[in-house]
Amino acid sequence: MAAIIEIDRLSKQYGSGTKALDDVSLTIDEGEIIALLGPNGAGKTTLISVICGLVVPTGGTVRVGGHDIRRDWRAARKLIGLVPQEIALPPFESVMNCVRFTRGLYGMAPDDAYLERILRALALWDKRDAATRELSGGMKRRVLIAKALSHRPKVLFLDEPTAGVDVALRREMWEVVGDLRREGVTIILTTHYLEEAEEMADRVGVINRGQLLLVRPTAELMGEFGRKTLIIDLDEALNAVPASLMGRGLELSADGRSLRFDYDTRADRTGIARLLGDLAGQGISVRDVSTRQSSLEEVFLSLVSEEAA
Protein backbone atom coordinates (compact mmCIF):
# COMPACT_ATOMS: atom_id res chain seq x y z
CA MET A 1 0.00 0.00 0.00
CA ALA A 2 1.22 3.52 -0.83
CA ALA A 3 1.62 6.03 1.97
CA ILE A 4 -1.13 8.65 1.97
CA ILE A 5 0.03 10.61 5.03
CA GLU A 6 3.70 11.22 5.81
CA ILE A 7 4.40 13.11 9.02
CA ASP A 8 8.03 13.98 9.60
CA ARG A 9 9.39 15.39 12.86
CA LEU A 10 6.26 17.45 13.49
CA SER A 11 6.32 19.87 16.42
CA LYS A 12 3.95 22.41 17.87
CA GLN A 13 4.97 24.68 20.68
CA TYR A 14 2.60 27.35 21.96
CA GLY A 15 3.67 30.82 23.02
CA SER A 16 3.32 29.75 26.65
CA GLY A 17 6.08 27.21 26.07
CA THR A 18 3.75 24.19 26.14
CA LYS A 19 4.86 21.51 23.68
CA ALA A 20 1.67 20.05 22.26
CA LEU A 21 3.58 17.95 19.70
CA ASP A 22 7.17 16.92 20.12
CA ASP A 23 9.02 15.50 17.10
CA VAL A 24 6.20 13.28 15.88
CA SER A 25 6.85 11.09 12.83
CA LEU A 26 4.29 8.73 11.37
CA THR A 27 3.42 7.20 8.01
CA ILE A 28 -0.13 6.07 7.28
CA ASP A 29 -0.96 3.86 4.34
CA GLU A 30 -3.89 4.24 1.98
CA GLY A 31 -6.99 2.40 3.18
CA GLU A 32 -5.70 1.98 6.70
CA ILE A 33 -7.63 2.71 9.89
CA ILE A 34 -5.43 4.05 12.64
CA ALA A 35 -6.58 4.94 16.14
CA LEU A 36 -4.76 7.52 18.22
CA LEU A 37 -5.00 6.93 21.93
CA GLY A 38 -3.91 9.16 24.73
CA PRO A 39 -5.14 10.94 27.83
CA ASN A 40 -6.69 14.40 27.67
CA GLY A 41 -4.14 16.98 26.52
CA ALA A 42 -1.84 14.31 25.07
CA GLY A 43 -1.72 15.99 21.65
CA LYS A 44 -4.14 13.83 19.63
CA THR A 45 -6.42 16.69 18.56
CA THR A 46 -3.43 18.98 17.95
CA LEU A 47 -1.94 16.39 15.59
CA ILE A 48 -5.19 16.17 13.63
CA SER A 49 -5.61 19.96 13.68
CA VAL A 50 -2.14 20.52 12.23
CA ILE A 51 -2.72 18.04 9.39
CA CYS A 52 -6.10 19.61 8.59
CA GLY A 53 -4.83 23.21 8.70
CA LEU A 54 -6.43 24.45 11.92
CA VAL A 55 -3.16 24.74 13.81
CA VAL A 56 0.11 26.07 12.41
CA PRO A 57 3.06 23.77 13.27
CA THR A 58 6.32 25.17 14.61
CA GLY A 59 8.46 22.46 13.02
CA GLY A 60 8.44 19.45 10.73
CA THR A 61 6.46 18.60 7.63
CA VAL A 62 3.27 16.79 6.69
CA ARG A 63 2.41 15.47 3.25
CA VAL A 64 -1.06 14.24 2.32
CA GLY A 65 -1.25 12.28 -0.92
CA GLY A 66 2.22 13.62 -1.69
CA HIS A 67 1.15 17.27 -1.22
CA ASP A 68 2.83 19.39 1.44
CA ILE A 69 0.09 20.79 3.70
CA ARG A 70 1.67 24.25 3.77
CA ARG A 71 3.10 24.73 0.29
CA ASP A 72 0.44 22.79 -1.63
CA TRP A 73 -2.41 23.25 0.83
CA ARG A 74 -5.25 23.35 -1.66
CA ALA A 75 -4.42 19.95 -3.15
CA ALA A 76 -3.73 18.46 0.30
CA ARG A 77 -6.99 19.74 1.81
CA LYS A 78 -9.08 18.45 -1.09
CA LEU A 79 -8.14 14.94 0.01
CA ILE A 80 -9.17 15.44 3.63
CA GLY A 81 -12.47 15.29 5.49
CA LEU A 82 -12.69 16.28 9.15
CA VAL A 83 -15.28 15.39 11.77
CA PRO A 84 -14.42 17.67 14.68
CA GLN A 85 -14.78 16.80 18.32
CA GLU A 86 -17.19 19.63 19.08
CA ILE A 87 -20.56 19.64 17.35
CA ALA A 88 -20.61 22.85 15.32
CA LEU A 89 -23.37 23.33 12.76
CA PRO A 90 -25.21 26.39 11.43
CA PRO A 91 -28.41 26.15 13.48
CA PHE A 92 -30.87 27.53 10.92
CA GLU A 93 -29.70 25.63 7.84
CA SER A 94 -31.29 22.39 6.70
CA VAL A 95 -29.29 19.17 6.74
CA MET A 96 -29.20 18.99 2.93
CA ASN A 97 -28.08 22.61 2.56
CA CYS A 98 -25.34 22.06 5.12
CA VAL A 99 -23.96 19.13 3.18
CA ARG A 100 -24.30 20.93 -0.17
CA PHE A 101 -22.41 23.89 1.29
CA THR A 102 -19.45 21.77 2.37
CA ARG A 103 -19.28 20.09 -1.04
CA GLY A 104 -19.23 23.54 -2.64
CA LEU A 105 -16.46 24.77 -0.33
CA TYR A 106 -14.31 21.92 -1.59
CA GLY A 107 -14.83 23.10 -5.16
CA MET A 108 -16.97 20.12 -6.18
CA ALA A 109 -19.82 20.38 -8.66
CA PRO A 110 -23.30 19.82 -7.19
CA ASP A 111 -24.24 16.13 -6.99
CA ASP A 112 -27.45 15.63 -5.02
CA ALA A 113 -27.62 11.95 -5.98
CA TYR A 114 -24.32 11.30 -4.21
CA LEU A 115 -25.37 13.40 -1.21
CA GLU A 116 -28.61 11.42 -1.03
CA ARG A 117 -26.59 8.20 -0.88
CA ILE A 118 -24.55 9.56 2.04
CA LEU A 119 -27.59 10.83 3.92
CA ARG A 120 -29.37 7.50 3.45
CA ALA A 121 -26.30 5.58 4.64
CA LEU A 122 -26.23 7.75 7.76
CA ALA A 123 -30.00 7.43 8.33
CA LEU A 124 -30.44 11.18 7.77
CA TRP A 125 -32.43 11.20 4.54
CA ASP A 126 -35.74 11.63 6.34
CA LYS A 127 -34.28 14.67 8.11
CA ARG A 128 -32.83 16.31 5.01
CA ASP A 129 -35.15 19.32 5.23
CA ALA A 130 -34.96 19.72 9.00
CA ALA A 131 -32.94 22.59 10.47
CA THR A 132 -29.90 21.26 12.30
CA ARG A 133 -31.02 22.85 15.57
CA GLU A 134 -33.99 20.46 15.59
CA LEU A 135 -31.82 17.33 15.55
CA SER A 136 -30.68 15.15 18.43
CA GLY A 137 -27.00 15.10 19.42
CA GLY A 138 -26.42 11.79 17.66
CA MET A 139 -28.01 13.06 14.47
CA LYS A 140 -25.94 16.22 14.57
CA ARG A 141 -22.80 14.12 14.82
CA ARG A 142 -23.94 12.13 11.80
CA VAL A 143 -24.50 15.39 9.90
CA LEU A 144 -20.89 16.27 10.64
CA ILE A 145 -19.83 12.92 9.16
CA ALA A 146 -22.04 13.53 6.10
CA LYS A 147 -20.44 16.96 5.62
CA ALA A 148 -16.97 15.48 5.94
CA LEU A 149 -17.80 12.85 3.31
CA SER A 150 -19.60 15.20 0.92
CA HIS A 151 -16.55 15.77 -1.30
CA ARG A 152 -15.42 12.12 -1.37
CA PRO A 153 -12.26 12.55 0.72
CA LYS A 154 -9.50 9.96 0.57
CA VAL A 155 -8.60 10.58 4.21
CA LEU A 156 -11.14 11.01 6.98
CA PHE A 157 -10.27 12.34 10.42
CA LEU A 158 -12.69 11.43 13.18
CA ASP A 159 -11.91 13.33 16.36
CA GLU A 160 -13.68 11.37 19.08
CA PRO A 161 -16.62 10.54 16.82
CA THR A 162 -18.66 8.71 19.42
CA ALA A 163 -18.04 10.99 22.40
CA GLY A 164 -21.31 11.43 24.25
CA VAL A 165 -23.40 9.16 22.05
CA ASP A 166 -25.32 6.13 23.31
CA VAL A 167 -24.17 2.54 22.87
CA ALA A 168 -26.58 1.79 20.01
CA LEU A 169 -25.49 4.83 18.04
CA ARG A 170 -21.85 4.03 18.74
CA ARG A 171 -22.39 0.65 17.10
CA GLU A 172 -24.04 2.40 14.13
CA MET A 173 -21.01 4.68 13.81
CA TRP A 174 -18.71 1.68 13.80
CA GLU A 175 -20.74 0.22 10.96
CA VAL A 176 -20.40 3.47 9.01
CA VAL A 177 -16.64 3.38 9.53
CA GLY A 178 -16.62 -0.26 8.39
CA ASP A 179 -18.43 0.73 5.19
CA LEU A 180 -15.93 3.52 4.55
CA ARG A 181 -13.05 1.10 5.06
CA ARG A 182 -14.55 -1.14 2.40
CA GLU A 183 -14.66 1.86 0.06
CA GLY A 184 -10.94 2.39 0.61
CA VAL A 185 -11.10 5.57 2.72
CA THR A 186 -8.15 6.01 5.06
CA ILE A 187 -9.40 6.78 8.56
CA ILE A 188 -7.58 8.37 11.46
CA LEU A 189 -9.60 8.46 14.65
CA THR A 190 -9.00 9.59 18.17
CA THR A 191 -11.05 8.08 20.91
CA HIS A 192 -11.44 7.64 24.61
CA TYR A 193 -13.46 4.47 24.08
CA LEU A 194 -10.65 2.01 23.81
CA GLU A 195 -12.84 -0.83 22.68
CA GLU A 196 -13.52 1.37 19.67
CA ALA A 197 -9.87 1.24 18.67
CA GLU A 198 -9.73 -2.47 19.41
CA GLU A 199 -12.84 -3.05 17.31
CA MET A 200 -11.96 -0.95 14.27
CA ALA A 201 -8.32 0.01 13.98
CA ASP A 202 -5.66 -1.79 11.97
CA ARG A 203 -3.02 0.04 13.96
CA VAL A 204 -2.98 1.88 17.25
CA GLY A 205 -0.80 4.88 18.05
CA VAL A 206 -0.29 5.91 21.64
CA ILE A 207 0.39 9.60 22.29
CA ASN A 208 1.33 11.10 25.61
CA ARG A 209 2.68 14.59 26.34
CA GLY A 210 2.97 15.36 22.64
CA GLN A 211 5.12 12.34 21.86
CA LEU A 212 4.11 9.34 19.83
CA LEU A 213 5.14 6.53 22.15
CA LEU A 214 4.47 3.72 19.71
CA VAL A 215 2.47 2.69 16.67
CA ARG A 216 1.71 -0.99 16.27
CA PRO A 217 -0.83 -3.22 14.56
CA THR A 218 -3.69 -3.60 17.03
CA ALA A 219 -3.48 -7.41 17.19
CA GLU A 220 0.29 -7.32 17.64
CA LEU A 221 0.01 -4.75 20.39
CA MET A 222 -2.56 -6.78 22.21
CA GLY A 223 -0.45 -9.91 21.85
CA GLU A 224 2.76 -8.21 22.87
CA PHE A 225 1.57 -6.13 25.74
CA GLY A 226 -1.57 -7.96 26.65
CA ARG A 227 -1.70 -9.80 29.94
CA LYS A 228 -4.07 -12.64 30.38
CA THR A 229 -5.95 -13.80 33.41
CA LEU A 230 -6.56 -17.48 34.10
CA ILE A 231 -9.80 -18.11 35.97
CA ILE A 232 -9.94 -21.48 37.72
CA ASP A 233 -13.39 -22.58 38.89
CA LEU A 234 -13.20 -25.00 41.81
CA ASP A 235 -15.45 -27.95 42.70
CA GLU A 236 -15.45 -27.01 46.35
CA ALA A 237 -15.12 -23.59 47.94
CA LEU A 238 -11.89 -22.68 49.72
CA ASN A 239 -11.60 -20.54 52.86
CA ALA A 240 -8.21 -19.19 51.85
CA VAL A 241 -5.43 -19.68 49.30
CA PRO A 242 -3.42 -22.73 50.51
CA ALA A 243 -0.19 -21.72 52.26
CA SER A 244 1.96 -23.69 49.78
CA LEU A 245 0.55 -21.59 46.91
CA MET A 246 1.07 -18.23 48.57
CA GLY A 247 3.36 -15.85 46.71
CA ARG A 248 2.13 -16.97 43.27
CA GLY A 249 -0.14 -13.96 42.85
CA LEU A 250 -3.31 -16.03 43.25
CA GLU A 251 -6.49 -14.24 44.18
CA LEU A 252 -9.46 -16.06 45.72
CA SER A 253 -12.96 -14.91 44.82
CA ALA A 254 -15.29 -13.69 47.59
CA ASP A 255 -17.34 -16.91 47.52
CA GLY A 256 -14.16 -19.03 47.54
CA ARG A 257 -15.20 -20.92 44.41
CA SER A 258 -12.66 -19.55 41.93
CA LEU A 259 -9.03 -18.50 41.74
CA ARG A 260 -7.62 -15.77 39.47
CA PHE A 261 -4.09 -15.96 38.16
CA ASP A 262 -2.55 -13.16 36.06
CA TYR A 263 0.18 -14.20 33.64
CA ASP A 264 2.31 -12.57 30.99
CA THR A 265 1.79 -13.98 27.51
CA ARG A 266 5.31 -12.83 26.56
CA ALA A 267 6.99 -14.89 29.32
CA ASP A 268 8.85 -18.10 28.37
CA ARG A 269 7.01 -19.93 31.11
CA THR A 270 3.60 -18.70 32.04
CA GLY A 271 3.45 -20.92 35.15
CA ILE A 272 0.02 -22.31 34.27
CA ALA A 273 1.07 -25.95 34.02
CA ARG A 274 2.94 -25.81 37.32
CA LEU A 275 0.03 -24.11 39.06
CA LEU A 276 -2.50 -26.68 37.85
CA GLY A 277 -0.13 -29.49 38.94
CA ASP A 278 0.29 -27.95 42.37
CA LEU A 279 -3.47 -27.57 42.79
CA ALA A 280 -3.95 -31.25 41.94
CA GLY A 281 -1.16 -32.11 44.41
CA GLN A 282 -3.04 -30.25 47.12
CA GLY A 283 -6.16 -32.29 46.33
CA ILE A 284 -8.00 -29.24 45.01
CA SER A 285 -10.35 -30.34 42.26
CA VAL A 286 -10.76 -28.03 39.27
CA ARG A 287 -14.18 -27.83 37.61
CA ASP A 288 -13.41 -25.43 34.74
CA VAL A 289 -10.67 -23.17 33.41
CA SER A 290 -11.04 -20.00 31.31
CA THR A 291 -8.87 -17.05 30.26
CA ARG A 292 -9.53 -13.36 29.80
CA GLN A 293 -7.43 -11.06 27.60
CA SER A 294 -6.61 -7.70 29.15
CA SER A 295 -8.29 -4.82 27.37
CA LEU A 296 -6.55 -2.19 25.29
CA GLU A 297 -7.31 0.21 28.10
CA GLU A 298 -5.12 -1.81 30.43
CA VAL A 299 -2.46 -2.03 27.71
CA PHE A 300 -2.63 1.72 27.25
CA LEU A 301 -2.39 2.46 30.99
CA SER A 302 0.54 0.08 31.25
CA LEU A 303 2.35 1.90 28.41
CA VAL A 304 1.72 5.36 29.78
CA SER A 305 2.80 4.36 33.29
CA GLU A 306 5.95 2.72 31.88
CA GLU A 307 6.76 5.96 30.10
CA ALA A 308 6.12 8.01 33.24
CA ALA A 309 8.49 5.73 35.21
Partner: protein, 256 residues
Amino acid sequence: MTGINWRGVGAIFHVEMMRFFRTIWQSLASPVLSTVLYFVVFGAAIGGRIQSVEGVEYGAFIVPGLMMLTVLQQSVSNASFGIYFPKFSGTIYEYLVSPVGWIEVTLGFVGAAAVKAILIALVILLTSFAFVGVHILHPFWMLAFLTLSALGFSLLGFIIGLWAKSFEQLQIVPMMVIMPLVFLGGAFYSASMLPPFWEGVAKLNPVLYLISGVRWSFFGLADVPVGTSLTAVALMVVVCLGIIRWIFATGWRLRE
Protein backbone atom coordinates in the same frame (compact mmCIF):
# COMPACT_ATOMS: atom_id res chain seq x y z
CA MET B 1 -1.66 29.68 -5.34
CA THR B 2 -3.17 27.43 -8.02
CA GLY B 3 -6.19 29.50 -9.05
CA ILE B 4 -9.32 30.64 -7.27
CA ASN B 5 -11.83 28.07 -6.05
CA TRP B 6 -14.89 29.74 -7.59
CA ARG B 7 -17.27 27.03 -6.41
CA GLY B 8 -16.05 27.74 -2.88
CA VAL B 9 -16.75 31.46 -3.40
CA GLY B 10 -20.20 30.59 -4.76
CA ALA B 11 -21.01 28.34 -1.78
CA ILE B 12 -20.22 31.10 0.73
CA PHE B 13 -21.98 33.78 -1.33
CA HIS B 14 -25.08 31.60 -1.78
CA VAL B 15 -25.41 30.81 1.94
CA GLU B 16 -25.00 34.48 2.86
CA MET B 17 -27.59 35.62 0.32
CA MET B 18 -30.02 32.90 1.43
CA ARG B 19 -29.71 34.20 5.00
CA PHE B 20 -30.68 37.65 3.67
CA PHE B 21 -33.65 36.37 1.66
CA ARG B 22 -34.90 34.23 4.56
CA THR B 23 -35.47 37.46 6.47
CA ILE B 24 -36.09 39.72 3.49
CA TRP B 25 -38.90 41.72 5.08
CA GLN B 26 -36.98 42.38 8.28
CA SER B 27 -33.91 43.23 6.17
CA LEU B 28 -35.85 45.81 4.15
CA ALA B 29 -38.44 47.09 6.61
CA SER B 30 -36.00 48.64 9.06
CA PRO B 31 -33.97 50.73 6.56
CA VAL B 32 -37.11 51.78 4.66
CA LEU B 33 -38.80 52.91 7.89
CA SER B 34 -35.66 54.82 8.91
CA THR B 35 -35.57 56.52 5.52
CA VAL B 36 -39.21 57.56 5.75
CA LEU B 37 -38.48 59.03 9.18
CA TYR B 38 -35.44 60.90 7.85
CA PHE B 39 -37.56 62.34 5.06
CA VAL B 40 -40.25 63.41 7.53
CA VAL B 41 -37.80 64.95 10.00
CA PHE B 42 -35.09 66.34 7.72
CA GLY B 43 -37.03 66.70 4.50
CA ALA B 44 -40.35 68.06 5.72
CA ALA B 45 -39.56 69.69 9.08
CA ILE B 46 -36.08 71.10 8.43
CA GLY B 47 -36.46 71.21 4.66
CA GLY B 48 -39.40 73.54 5.16
CA ARG B 49 -36.92 76.13 6.45
CA ILE B 50 -34.09 75.32 3.99
CA GLN B 51 -35.61 75.74 0.59
CA SER B 52 -32.59 74.57 -1.40
CA VAL B 53 -28.88 73.82 -1.17
CA GLU B 54 -26.82 75.03 -4.09
CA GLY B 55 -29.93 75.04 -6.23
CA VAL B 56 -31.15 71.57 -5.25
CA GLU B 57 -34.35 71.09 -3.24
CA TYR B 58 -33.30 70.06 0.30
CA GLY B 59 -35.44 66.89 0.30
CA ALA B 60 -33.68 65.71 -2.85
CA PHE B 61 -30.29 66.93 -1.62
CA ILE B 62 -30.28 64.47 1.30
CA VAL B 63 -31.15 61.39 -0.85
CA PRO B 64 -27.50 60.54 -1.71
CA GLY B 65 -26.57 60.97 1.97
CA LEU B 66 -29.38 58.66 3.07
CA MET B 67 -28.34 56.07 0.52
CA MET B 68 -24.75 56.23 1.70
CA LEU B 69 -25.85 56.04 5.33
CA THR B 70 -27.68 52.81 4.50
CA VAL B 71 -24.87 51.40 2.36
CA LEU B 72 -22.27 52.03 5.04
CA GLN B 73 -24.36 50.69 7.92
CA GLN B 74 -25.56 47.62 6.03
CA SER B 75 -22.15 46.84 4.56
CA VAL B 76 -20.43 46.91 7.93
CA SER B 77 -23.14 45.03 9.83
CA ASN B 78 -23.72 42.32 7.17
CA ALA B 79 -20.04 41.58 6.62
CA SER B 80 -19.06 41.69 10.29
CA PHE B 81 -21.96 39.46 11.36
CA GLY B 82 -21.40 37.13 8.40
CA ILE B 83 -17.88 36.15 9.46
CA TYR B 84 -18.39 36.58 13.22
CA PHE B 85 -21.29 34.11 13.45
CA PRO B 86 -19.23 31.09 12.21
CA LYS B 87 -16.57 32.08 14.75
CA PHE B 88 -19.21 32.26 17.47
CA SER B 89 -20.92 28.97 16.52
CA GLY B 90 -17.66 27.11 15.85
CA THR B 91 -18.37 26.42 12.18
CA ILE B 92 -15.39 28.59 11.19
CA TYR B 93 -13.33 25.37 11.19
CA GLU B 94 -14.93 24.47 7.85
CA TYR B 95 -13.48 27.52 6.14
CA LEU B 96 -10.05 26.81 7.62
CA VAL B 97 -9.79 23.13 6.65
CA SER B 98 -11.30 23.36 3.17
CA PRO B 99 -9.42 24.42 0.01
CA VAL B 100 -10.52 28.05 0.24
CA GLY B 101 -8.05 30.80 1.08
CA TRP B 102 -8.40 34.43 2.05
CA ILE B 103 -9.46 35.45 -1.45
CA GLU B 104 -12.36 32.99 -1.64
CA VAL B 105 -13.58 33.68 1.91
CA THR B 106 -13.34 37.43 1.39
CA LEU B 107 -15.03 37.35 -2.02
CA GLY B 108 -17.86 35.20 -0.64
CA PHE B 109 -18.62 37.14 2.53
CA VAL B 110 -17.75 40.65 1.34
CA GLY B 111 -19.38 40.14 -2.05
CA ALA B 112 -22.65 39.06 -0.42
CA ALA B 113 -22.54 41.90 2.15
CA ALA B 114 -21.91 44.49 -0.58
CA VAL B 115 -24.70 43.15 -2.82
CA LYS B 116 -27.17 43.20 0.10
CA ALA B 117 -26.19 46.78 0.97
CA ILE B 118 -26.57 47.95 -2.65
CA LEU B 119 -29.98 46.25 -2.96
CA ILE B 120 -31.20 48.01 0.18
CA ALA B 121 -29.76 51.34 -1.03
CA LEU B 122 -31.70 50.97 -4.29
CA VAL B 123 -34.87 50.29 -2.28
CA ILE B 124 -34.12 53.50 -0.35
CA LEU B 125 -33.79 55.33 -3.67
CA LEU B 126 -37.16 53.95 -4.82
CA THR B 127 -38.69 55.00 -1.48
CA SER B 128 -37.33 58.53 -1.90
CA PHE B 129 -39.18 58.84 -5.23
CA ALA B 130 -42.39 58.77 -3.17
CA PHE B 131 -41.31 61.92 -1.31
CA VAL B 132 -39.23 64.02 -3.67
CA GLY B 133 -38.46 64.36 -7.34
CA VAL B 134 -34.92 63.10 -7.87
CA HIS B 135 -33.07 63.18 -11.17
CA ILE B 136 -29.83 61.21 -11.42
CA LEU B 137 -27.34 63.03 -13.63
CA HIS B 138 -24.77 60.20 -13.90
CA PRO B 139 -26.49 56.84 -13.12
CA PHE B 140 -23.39 54.81 -14.03
CA TRP B 141 -21.21 56.76 -11.62
CA MET B 142 -23.88 56.53 -8.94
CA LEU B 143 -23.72 52.72 -9.21
CA ALA B 144 -19.93 52.83 -9.34
CA PHE B 145 -19.70 54.93 -6.16
CA LEU B 146 -22.30 52.80 -4.37
CA THR B 147 -20.48 49.62 -5.37
CA LEU B 148 -17.04 50.88 -4.36
CA SER B 149 -18.35 52.27 -1.06
CA ALA B 150 -20.25 49.05 -0.31
CA LEU B 151 -17.11 47.08 -1.10
CA GLY B 152 -14.85 49.28 1.03
CA PHE B 153 -17.13 49.23 4.06
CA SER B 154 -17.96 45.53 3.68
CA LEU B 155 -14.22 44.90 3.81
CA LEU B 156 -14.03 47.06 6.93
CA GLY B 157 -16.96 45.14 8.45
CA PHE B 158 -15.26 41.87 7.58
CA ILE B 159 -12.16 42.98 9.47
CA ILE B 160 -14.33 43.98 12.44
CA GLY B 161 -15.96 40.52 12.38
CA LEU B 162 -12.56 38.82 12.30
CA TRP B 163 -11.32 41.02 15.14
CA ALA B 164 -14.40 40.81 17.40
CA LYS B 165 -14.43 38.37 20.27
CA SER B 166 -17.95 39.19 21.42
CA PHE B 167 -21.23 40.60 20.14
CA GLU B 168 -20.49 43.79 22.09
CA GLN B 169 -17.27 44.32 20.17
CA LEU B 170 -19.17 43.62 16.96
CA GLN B 171 -21.53 46.53 17.71
CA ILE B 172 -19.12 49.06 19.09
CA VAL B 173 -17.29 50.12 15.90
CA PRO B 174 -20.44 50.69 13.80
CA MET B 175 -22.06 52.63 16.66
CA MET B 176 -19.08 54.63 17.85
CA VAL B 177 -17.23 55.22 14.58
CA ILE B 178 -19.33 54.65 11.47
CA MET B 179 -22.48 56.52 12.54
CA PRO B 180 -20.66 59.70 13.66
CA LEU B 181 -18.53 59.69 10.50
CA VAL B 182 -21.63 59.49 8.32
CA PHE B 183 -23.48 62.24 10.18
CA LEU B 184 -20.39 64.45 10.14
CA GLY B 185 -19.62 63.49 6.53
CA GLY B 186 -22.22 65.75 4.97
CA ALA B 187 -25.11 63.30 4.71
CA PHE B 188 -27.59 66.09 5.47
CA TYR B 189 -25.65 69.21 4.48
CA SER B 190 -22.93 70.45 2.19
CA ALA B 191 -19.47 70.94 3.68
CA SER B 192 -19.44 74.34 1.97
CA MET B 193 -22.24 75.39 4.39
CA LEU B 194 -19.74 75.10 7.28
CA PRO B 195 -17.39 77.88 8.42
CA PRO B 196 -13.96 77.60 6.72
CA PHE B 197 -12.25 76.03 9.76
CA TRP B 198 -14.90 73.32 10.20
CA GLU B 199 -14.98 72.74 6.48
CA GLY B 200 -11.28 71.93 6.73
CA VAL B 201 -11.93 69.57 9.66
CA ALA B 202 -14.79 67.90 7.77
CA LYS B 203 -12.42 67.13 4.91
CA LEU B 204 -10.42 64.89 7.24
CA ASN B 205 -13.46 62.61 7.37
CA PRO B 206 -13.11 59.87 4.70
CA VAL B 207 -16.89 59.39 4.50
CA LEU B 208 -17.24 62.98 3.23
CA TYR B 209 -15.44 61.91 0.04
CA LEU B 210 -17.84 59.02 -0.54
CA ILE B 211 -20.98 61.06 0.05
CA SER B 212 -19.59 63.86 -2.08
CA GLY B 213 -18.93 61.41 -4.92
CA VAL B 214 -22.45 60.02 -4.84
CA ARG B 215 -23.97 63.49 -4.59
CA TRP B 216 -21.96 64.53 -7.65
CA SER B 217 -23.37 61.55 -9.57
CA PHE B 218 -26.89 62.80 -8.72
CA PHE B 219 -26.62 66.57 -9.08
CA GLY B 220 -23.16 67.37 -10.44
CA LEU B 221 -22.39 69.02 -7.06
CA ALA B 222 -19.39 67.96 -4.98
CA ASP B 223 -17.62 69.14 -1.81
CA VAL B 224 -14.35 67.66 -3.11
CA PRO B 225 -13.16 66.77 -6.63
CA VAL B 226 -14.67 63.50 -7.92
CA GLY B 227 -11.22 62.08 -8.66
CA THR B 228 -10.28 62.59 -5.01
CA SER B 229 -13.44 60.74 -3.94
CA LEU B 230 -12.63 57.81 -6.22
CA THR B 231 -9.03 57.72 -5.00
CA ALA B 232 -10.17 57.76 -1.36
CA VAL B 233 -12.54 54.81 -1.74
CA ALA B 234 -10.07 52.85 -3.89
CA LEU B 235 -7.39 53.42 -1.25
CA MET B 236 -9.74 52.14 1.44
CA VAL B 237 -10.40 48.96 -0.56
CA VAL B 238 -6.67 48.33 -1.05
CA VAL B 239 -5.77 48.94 2.61
CA CYS B 240 -8.59 46.68 3.87
CA LEU B 241 -7.60 43.90 1.44
CA GLY B 242 -4.03 44.15 2.72
CA ILE B 243 -5.17 43.82 6.34
CA ILE B 244 -7.39 40.82 5.54
CA ARG B 245 -4.58 39.10 3.67
CA TRP B 246 -2.32 39.63 6.68
CA ILE B 247 -4.95 38.21 9.08
CA PHE B 248 -5.31 35.03 7.03
CA ALA B 249 -1.56 34.68 6.45
CA THR B 250 -0.76 34.93 10.16
CA GLY B 251 -3.93 33.22 11.39
CA TRP B 252 -4.55 36.10 13.84
CA ARG B 253 -7.80 35.38 15.74
CA LEU B 254 -8.43 32.47 13.35
CA ARG B 255 -5.84 29.75 13.83
CA GLU B 256 -3.82 28.63 16.84
